[in-house]
Subunit: 425 residues, 2 copies
Amino acid sequence: MARIVALHTHDVRFPTSRTLDGSDAMNPDPDYSAAYLRLVTDAADGLEGHGFVFTIGRGNDVQVAALRALEGHLLGRDVDALLADLGGVWRELVHDSQLRWLGPEKGIMHMAIGAAVTALWDLRAKREGKPLWQLLSSLSPEEIVDLVDFRYLTDALTRDEALDILRAAQPGRAEREARLLSEGYPAYTTTPGWLGYDDAKLARLCREAVADGFGQIKLKVGADLDEDVRRLRIAREVCGPDVRIAVDANQRWDVGDAIRWLERLRPFDIAWIEEPTSPDDILGHAAIARAVAPIPVATGEHGANRVLFKQMLQANALSVLQLDATRVGGVNENIAILLLAAKFGVRVCPHAGGVGLCEAVQHLAMFDYVAVSGTAEDRMIEFVDHLHEHFVTPVDVHDGRYFAPKAPGAGTEMHASSLAEYAHG
Amino acid sequence: MARIVALHTHDVRFPTSRTLDGSDAMNPDPDYSAAYLRLVTDAADGLEGHGFVFTIGRGNDVQVAALRALEGHLLGRDVDALLADLGGVWRELVHDSQLRWLGPEKGIMHMAIGAAVTALWDLRAKREGKPLWQLLSSLSPEEIVDLVDFRYLTDALTRDEALDILRAAQPGRAEREARLLSEGYPAYTTTPGWLGYDDAKLARLCREAVADGFGQIKLKVGADLDEDVRRLRIAREVCGPDVRIAVDANQRWDVGDAIRWLERLRPFDIAWIEEPTSPDDILGHAAIARAVAPIPVATGEHGANRVLFKQMLQANALSVLQLDATRVGGVNENIAILLLAAKFGVRVCPHAGGVGLCEAVQHLAMFDYVAVSGTAEDRMIEFVDHLHEHFVTPVDVHDGRYFAPKAPGAGTEMHASSLAEYAHG
């Protein structure tokens, strides 16, 4: 019987603040970082499960400490038993009453649990020789709902309703899987839009994005309205009328600010307004959505858990749900969120970028396409061309599309050399 | 010029799970703990600022790591400058963009900032020779609003509206302060109600609570409906019809469960139903409040920040706001929440118990009475008779009332001997 014999953690930080990559109205100087976990077993296959939480620098050590706090739950455990009941593992970790007090189900402790859960999925996918999206897409509707904790969801989504959604998507699974392998999944790019870039760099990157086949780009806004109008004008001129341009305020505004700001940006044919205010403000997002319609409101990268997403959907507070691979409780909670989005008929356009978020979240979007929503219409995964070289199975994005990963695993494994070279402290 | 020369942290854990003190439907075996911070200066007065986060055991080490992550902000800083601008300090800590990513404004990192902010208030109050409630009550309306971060609040409460509230409360300040010193502030007790106690102990503690002058007690419910009915019947028989009995489900239910459960408990004249479901579920609490009316819905001890409370009030999701001293960003954010409650005309009945929560939160309730809401009508502070002996200035509760503390400070200082004796690991 194989057991988990070690949890190795790594505090990995990339000095991205030097180049203002990733700079926006709320985050002027991020150092893209990962609190990284390796689950080591004594199995003869030598396979490890890798997972991480994306952070932007200071405090990454605290996030690593939270990973270590899970040792008591995982060390010495029977690997086969754990991997056979990942729904049960999720519940065990999230409902540990003492750890739960530290959230509950939000912030550092919850994200740590998410990384551990995803590391277990990575291990299971490697053992089964499948990329995670294909592994998840091969599960029966009953197996999938067993992964989901419906606690606090049943006023919006019951287990039976989730089963109905999954069963309705069963017929086309094989065809959609084949299409993903041949044609990939749509992407959009944020590479041109960081706030710290000058006009010449903005224009050059917009041109390159269009040439690279992206149908949508995204600009950071929210620090200065006149500047935003100027930069949007440049982007619109370079991109032409057919490329969609989304804008992202990164939580900078109060409700009234957002509504006033959008009046000035509206003439530029905005694809969506992202994170206009606090990610916790469900009623605020709903008020903004009503006021700026038909401009879609997008949010989710800082959505703490499934209860937040449930309410965002109940309140019509978002029309673009931006799933994030490392903010909530890992793969399992993201499946719950995908099911909620399907129930409410809202499109999912995952948040990515950062460290490894593209590598991780593509599996969830592709699983959604094959086995949950059954559609990629008007959906796309964010793409930022940073730091992919540090991953063992970097994304394959070209012609404006993510091509489906074929390597076993969850996409979350970094090169040992990168873990060593960018080790902090 | 005095500087902060050390941040000493302590991982303090009391083995309360041995006696089932604190046991409820979600927390069967808490070990009441504190992630504790001491700010040491090089001033000749030798005064220190103490603050803490209450936790229930495992993960307290992670909470301590989060306190240490604030060293870069506080070590070496000019004490007079910090204490003269505690609103600015709050903003600096909460809006550190890299640390903010770990919440944002929720969970371990946010609670750590709260403890540091409260430790600074403790130091300031000791230096000024006043208990915190009197220090806060001596500030002008303008000084008080400068402590508050109105970001994300302005659709519900502006700075000018807050000023109006505070100015309206100015006339009676002196009279209310005198009344607090002579008569104290109402309390209610949770001591009888822990789920792990047997019937004889429940009945005995109910009798003692009535004899001690408490006008309200609280029982834990939510694990088993028939058991809850049985225990409520015992409590109602012992207490008689004139003592109010609140019930607390500690987040155990989904929305539908809560509504069904309350139908069975309704005949016992319930004073309020506390934490019926996820503390994040604003819309769920609102649905429950509509269904169980006129039974009041109470929540707040796990409310992550002012944005959550704003929405709870906007949605009529609670009619009893349970302020907690260590869950949000310290004294400053709790002032914001008190102002929101005053704006919406909702009564505040603080959560207490745990480690030192009674000692800390009484200052906020008393400040609210003197300078914000101006009333104690139908309001009371929770009281649990645990662990007070570990504090340098333990609460003075008798005749069912909290008597106003007179010692300088925020009430947050533990005995050095307790820090040493219950040091973990």
